[in-house]
């Protein structure tokens, strides 16, 4: 067994283990952290497939950004764990059935008899100067240009939706604007009124 193969099995084993832990841990924070571990190992698998840009981008975007939001949400929301557990146990038989069906289906579809080395030749190892990023850039900005622009629109809608649904101006804040405090003039605050002296009654 070559070293690459060995690494593949290590990454794959940890990945499966982490994925199982994600759905079985009691504490959602632990689940989220196992998901981080799972992402790391998939990044390792992608790296083995010589997709260096995608592998590192997976760490950058999913581990570095998406999971941070996940953690924010699961850490700071009061999630009733007991209630979730009840649903878990009740639905477990169905879920296991679906999972088994999916596994069987996957084996049928992507098993070695269809995508094995006999059917699909292994890609040639890339030369040392090969840059995965460059290949990706070339494909993205010529062939998939249209899809790329739609992705921008989707991100824009993401911004609009996130802000439109959550943003509220809080009326109760007492923030100060120092520049306005400094530039305040006496006549803005104080009004001098000319009054006739009142006669003593």
């Amino acid at each position: 067994m070559s070293f690459e193969k060995f690494l593949f099995y290590v990454f794959a084993a940890i990945l499966v283990f982490a994925a199982v832990m994600v759905i079985t841990r009691k504490n959602p924070v632990h689940s989220a952290l196992f998901l981080v571990l799972a992402f790391f190992n998939s990044a390792g698998l992608w790296m083995l497939a010589e997709a260096e840009f995608l592998a590192i981008a997976l760490v950058l975007v999913y581990v570095g950004a998406v999971m941070v939001l996940f953690l924010f949400v699961v850490m700071m929301l009061d999630i009733n764990i007991a209630e979730l557990r009840a649903g878990f146990v009740r639905n477990a038989p169905v879920a296991i059935l679906v999972a088994i069906a999916m596994v069987i289906e996957l084996v049928i579809v992507v098993g070695p008899q269809r995508f094995g080395l006999d059917e699909v030749a292994a890609p040639a190892a890339k030369p040392a100067g090969y840059s995965n990023t460059e290949e990706l850039g070339l494909a993205l900005f010529t062939q998939h240009l249209y899809a790329f622009e739609i992705a921008a629109v989707i991100l824009l809608v993401g911004i609009v939706a996130a802000i439109g649904l959550t943003m509220r101006r809080r009326p109760d804040t007492k923030s100060q604007d120092p520049s306005r405090q400094v530039t305040v003039k006496a006549k803005d605050r104080l009004r001098v009124i000319k009054m006739d002296a009142e006669e003593k009654a």
């Binding site: 579809v109 992507v110 995508f115 629109v153 989707i154 609009v160 939706a161």
Partner: protein
Amino acid sequence: MEYNLASLQPALPEIFLLSAACLILVIDLFLTERTRLLTYGLSLAALAGAVALTLYAAGPEREILFHGSFVRDPMSDVLKIGLLLISLFAFVYAKDYLIELDILRGEYYVLGLFGVLGMLVMISANSFLTVYLGLELLALCLYALVAFHRDSGAGAEAAMKYFVLGALASGMLLYGISMVYGATGQLTFPEVAGVIAGGDADQTVLVFGLVFIVVGVSFKFGAVPFHMWVPDVYQGAPTSVTLFLGSAPKIAAFALTMRLLVDGMGSLVEQWQNMLIILAVLSMALGNVVAIAQSNVKRMLAYSTISHVGFIFLGLLAGTDKGYTAAMFYAITYALTAAGGFGVITMLCRKGFDAENLHDLKGLNDRSPWLAFMMLLIMFSMAGVPPTVGFFAKLFVLDAVISVDMVWLALVAVFFSIIGAFYYIRAVKMMYFDKPIDTAPLAASMDTQVMMSINGLAMLGFGLFPAALLGTCRAAFSG
């Protein structure tokens, strides 16, 4: 490939709508509460401009752009114009409702425009990648719109359900697409079709991929047994959103199915025909039967939608140009009808009162004979009563099914339509023969009234003269 104004001409409607939506988004930021209606006006102008550009770019030939990811053909022209016009109706109806409920914010129109853009992308998609991105763009806008009324718990819950199930459906679709890609090694539809027709692709993988794609499409369409989200979302969303959600996306869903199943995997018609038969029969049966039991009018229309989706599938599964024409005719006219139906409901709402229940329709004739008549036409059209357009839509679909020797299916469809007619007619009966519960006068702004009149009379107009629209639909597939 060179990009300039001339070579980009087929994509002009999309480019224009994108620019317009971005511009409106920015302009809206600088508007005050009082001038907010400018956003509304500009959005209508944007849709109208997109219609004009679609007409300008239209033609009988097929044009491919952006390395095969974009296509403009006669089918896309017709669908785009229908989609844009129906969205126009939806935008107009929504305005009064939003003002009454005090949730008139620019985001409604901006998200609506981006949703329309997503649908245009889907209609003109020529590759799996584009169709998926268009679908996601639409879905994202719809999720946000369903939760648009932020103080409404029901809205948030509906949005959550919609989002979770929608994400699941997207996952299914993507899974199926990845299998087809794995089997064929191609992303654009003509090339995928070529590989499949050539017999080089592995059949098992293809069929598994097809199953997942059909499941994903049915989720998006809301066909039984993937319909769970439809009633809850229709009911929970603000009516102005239900109105948008229930109308235009049906056209986009039709386009999605056409592109994926017919353009991409046309030679697998035998396989998907059987799947669609099951979906169609179940949808018609469950939709029509369950709708009878509903007392909430939005929920009732949701189940009615499910049954109509069954009919659209019926046309598609014929697998002939005649069938596609009929399904297209059905999708467009149904979208228009649904926009009108929900439009009438929005007009019943006013400050602090959200008309939702069937008995809110009672005595509508006494309160506003004109509105009641429009609703009558719409209900008749949904039920398929001649001479409204709904009758002909059903007729064409049945004709297409019969001509591929599936008479039993046509009989099933007729049977369930008759059951369905019951609850539409019941609504009409309530409007004309029951005493009103609520006698508050109905006020609608001028533009709404005009659009509603056009909408209602169109039910009659297309019904009396179906040839014009049918001819257009037919032309879309003759090329």
